[in-house]
Subunit: 546 residues, 2 copies
């Protein structure tokens, strides 16, 4: 473990942070921990916003051209407001971001990467999938004509891998899931037949439960999960059936429940049942960044890029923002990049991540100021790896989906597009969380890529010979966000959440950090719609100019 720690900067103990980001065990525990923080979630989006009666000539300054900021600008413009957006980056989208061949990215400390992927390949350093129930972000995909395609989340032929089991050999998800489910069903059938559940299950339901367990667990007629046709039609065959002569199948043997339990490998099997990773999920054709790019085109001249906010001041009459044009001069350490510029408006929708905003001079009241300082940002690292061929399809017969491991890389994500393409291919080689992410963050980009290759080759030995190039984004070193997403817990929610969201004078905050869906674009969308709805009400109440 690296000794690098963000504990100091957030005021959290290492143990608190560990608990918050749920690192102590594998994915399932992590997910549970994330869930208890309100990470796994749905959306309150119910339909298009309808803002009527914008005061004539009213102006709004939107800070940040990420999803929250651009939703705000898009809807406020439609409602009749005069809108200007200031954005730090030279592109729209914020964390909605796709790295493609030729794209350059410089992180804190000056490490510059240029993505070397072949044409049509990409990685999404930020969000990479759209759950079916994230209706807000999906509605903007539709409105902005962003073509979507299926994102394959669950692939029974992908691997689950645990260092603790099977001699470190990855197992097919299909086998582990079938064998766990089958043996759980067999155990419950036994208990039911032994009348151990007579208190819980009525005599009437008893036979139905047994019947359902047989079907659901792929049990044989004696309610046993054993090598045979039924189990093999879930877990696969030793020698599969075929055509012509000598084509009769031979049966494979299930893995014992004890081995599954002791390996800890069961931790990955329910991931596809979780609400946010249930199918169907979708992705924009060509990368998640297509959404931000479409918003950027729709907003056009409204967005001023390369604008680094340095101060946000409000009065009873309006808001004035001071910013630098980062392209105006070569950045020199300790010297502002360009002359101070200002922009003013009646109202301000600020979507700057709290990790950045907490460092900006801003005159809001104590409650909002305290809230801005109270939310630490999660650590995450994504690594994209290009290989000389799509060996996962050719050799492993994996088309899309995700392999899970208890190695620090957590995920290997296979592309849901370009199946069978003859050229090179790009994997998500790592999606790292918590302390492991902090360790990776402390490395150079090259070292992160190398480490992802080292770990991944335990699952795909082809990594060693087929690796072509890679790119690694450590969110705590991304200048425009300094972290992946805002991490709430019950305590901070109780103390600060409403103060964060409440309008302070002429300023309202929006973004995933101001939602119960942190870390998801849907949080940004619903937060933004809620914020501008309330701001609009206040603007209407105040009238055109006040």
């Amino acid at each position: 473990m690296s000794s690098t720690s963000l504990d100091d900067s957030t005021g959290l103990s290492r143990r608190q942070l560990l608990r918050m980001i749920g690192l102590t065990a594998g994915n399932a525990a992590m997910y549970q921990a994330m869930s208890s923080l309100g990470f796994a979630a749905d959306s309150t989006y119910t339909g298009p916003i309808n803002l009527q009666g914008a005061p004539k000539g009213a102006t709004v300054l939107v800070l940040g051209a990420g999803i929250a900021g651009m939703v705000a600008a898009y809807e406020l413009r439609a409602a009749g407001y005069q809108v200007q957006v200031l954005e730090y980056n030279s592109r729209p989208g914020g964390r909605n971001w796709t790295l493609r061949g030729g794209d350059k990215f410089t992180e804190l400390g000056g490490y510059a990467q240029e993505c070397q992927f072949d044409k049509d390949h990409y990685i999404n350093p930020g969000p990479w999938r759209l759950p079916y129930h994230h209706r807000g972000i999906l509605s903007y995909c539709k409105k902005l004509n962003v073509p979507l395609e299926p994102f394959v989340q669950i692939n029974y032929n992908a691997y689950v891998h645990s260092r603790k089991g099977f001699g470190g050999k990855p197992q097919r998800y299909r086998e582990v899931k079938a064998d766990y489910q089958g043996q759980v069903a067999e155990l419950l059938a036994k208990a039911t037949k032994q009348n151990a559940l007579d208190q819980q299950v009525s005599a009437e339901d008893r036979e139905r439960l047994l019947e359902s367990l047989r079907d659901w667990g792929a049990l044989d007629k004696n309610f046993q999960y054993v090598a045979g046709q039924r189990s093999n039609e879930r877990r696969g065959f030793e020698r599969p059936p075929g055509g012509g002569l000598d084509a009769r199948p031979e049966f494979s043997k299930p893995i014992g429940l004890s081995e599954i339990l002791q390996s800890g490998i069961w931790q990955g099997i329910a991931f596809a049942d979780e609400y946010d990773t249930q199918q169907s999920l979708m992705q924009p054709v060509g990368g998640m960044g297509k959404i931000g790019e479409a918003f950027g085109r729709a907003l056009g001249e409204l967005i001023r890029y390369n604008a680094k906010i340095t101060q946000i001041k409000q009065s009873d009459h309006g808001v004035t923002v001071t910013y630098e044009d980062t392209t105006a001069a070569a950045p020199v350490k300790g010297v502002a990049a360009g002359p101070a510029l200002t922009a003013s408006a009646d109202w301000c929708v600020c979507t700057i991540p709290l990790s950045i905003l907490s460092q900006i001079d801003m005159n809001v009241g104590a409650p909002m100021a305290a809230a801005i300082g109270a939310v630490p940002y999660a650590s995450a690292v994504k690594v994209g790896l290009q290989f000389k061929r799509r060996f996962w399809e050719e050799d492993d017969h994996i088309y899309g989906g995700i392999s899970y491991t208890d190695l620090p890389i957590v995920n290997i994500g296979y592309p849901s597009y370009g199946f069978h393409d003859a050229g090179k291919g790009v994997l998500l080689g790592a999606y790292i969380w918590g302390m492991d992410a902090m360790e990776f963050t402390s490395m150079t980009p090259d070292a992160r890529v190398k480490r992802a290759i080292d770990y991944g080759s335990q699952i795909h030995p082809q990594y060693r010979t087929e690796f072509d190039n890679g790119v690694a984004v450590a969110w705590h070193r991304v200048p425009f966000t300094l972290g992946c997403f805002g991490v709430w817990n019950e305590d901070s929610r109780g103390k600060h959440y409403e103060n964060l969201c409440a309008i302070d004078g002429r300023i309202v905050l929006a973004g995933e950090h101001a939602s119960y869906i942190p870390g998801w674009q849907e949080g940004a969308v619903t937060s933004s719609l809620d914020a501008i709805g309330r701001l609009h009400q206040r603007a209407v109440a105040k009238g055109a100019k006040s």
Copy 2:
């Protein structure tokens, strides 16, 4: 129920047929029945076939330009044989078939349909998905540059529907699956804690089992599946979390296990675990027929279309096939369509479905002849429905996947392509099996469509107002196959399968009917490769001309 029955023609009692096709209950029972017939299966495909040393000048006649026939022709030509293919239809593919707007199809009895779908919409009357483990057919997709895309099989937001439960109201798969799994896990946790399983589970595994059940079943800290954060992160929320103020989620209540059991609705929930319908699955972009069309282009002039085989005669020296050109004269009842034509070759690969082949004059030995007559063909009906808008996406938030019902329509399949398209949309409105299929088969195409609308509107009331047009294919009335696929049972396999596959003189049979993967294209591919491998050996042994 219609009184129409194929029992007489197959020599099977109605009860036998029912049992064979597994009609007595819902999908799960059907699937189990199909499975016991060797329906659900994998593939023995291990890599490209390598036929070396074809006798100089040796000729092969391939009967049928379906997948089996075209694989044979493609590989035998590559091996140096002179190949000719005779095909009944005016297109390649056979049951690999996509109906698009403007396509015409005339079934037995003369009922003609012209598909009225809008551009880019289609239905596959035959196979519609490619499992990841069907490596043979996938390898030809790659070889022939047929682009593939994900086929969304499992969608947690699709419906499961039972006439017996919930007042006939469709339920979300998500809720039923989460609640069944959660309550099964809770019951087993109870039994484990009551020491009812001490014989089966060691003390060492006991705690691990409990921990795994909590994770897998989304149980709370007391091992209970109750309304709350954990269960709702599987089954969904009463009021989902959102952004901004007033965005805290409200929890939904699970459905009781008893209600799930009594409704029979549990029968659909393990379908996505079955080997043939496990993800990832794929489909050719633009319809399954793209594979047949690509083969057709690759074979070009080798295929003679519109050739109706009437006789197959072999001698010690070769095979002569008599056929009619069905385009030569307008068909008049009782009169041959055109003059008898013949084609001859040293060898013959016959891929004609047994339902047709059993009616053709052919001099093979008694064992093969008996085998040809011993395999009845399954009944199936598919109905494609075009609607004025994609209401399943707009209203129901269903993107791809399948809803299951115990109504005769069985499936409603949602397109995995064209998400959010503004125009019309096409559903698979029914995929009907067994006796229900026979009843539908006895109707006119229009009546089938109307009936599918009647049933489907119980799940999607929008059917009533949004229906545009439809097309219905009843496989027992499809002239080129007279049934969907060959149905084997243990008895017929034992008596006839090897005789069907063994080379008879100069003739070898191939197709899904000559495989352990009936009803799947992979059966056709592996059967064909096995057949031509053996035929090649015999040809090499016999020499160029004998």
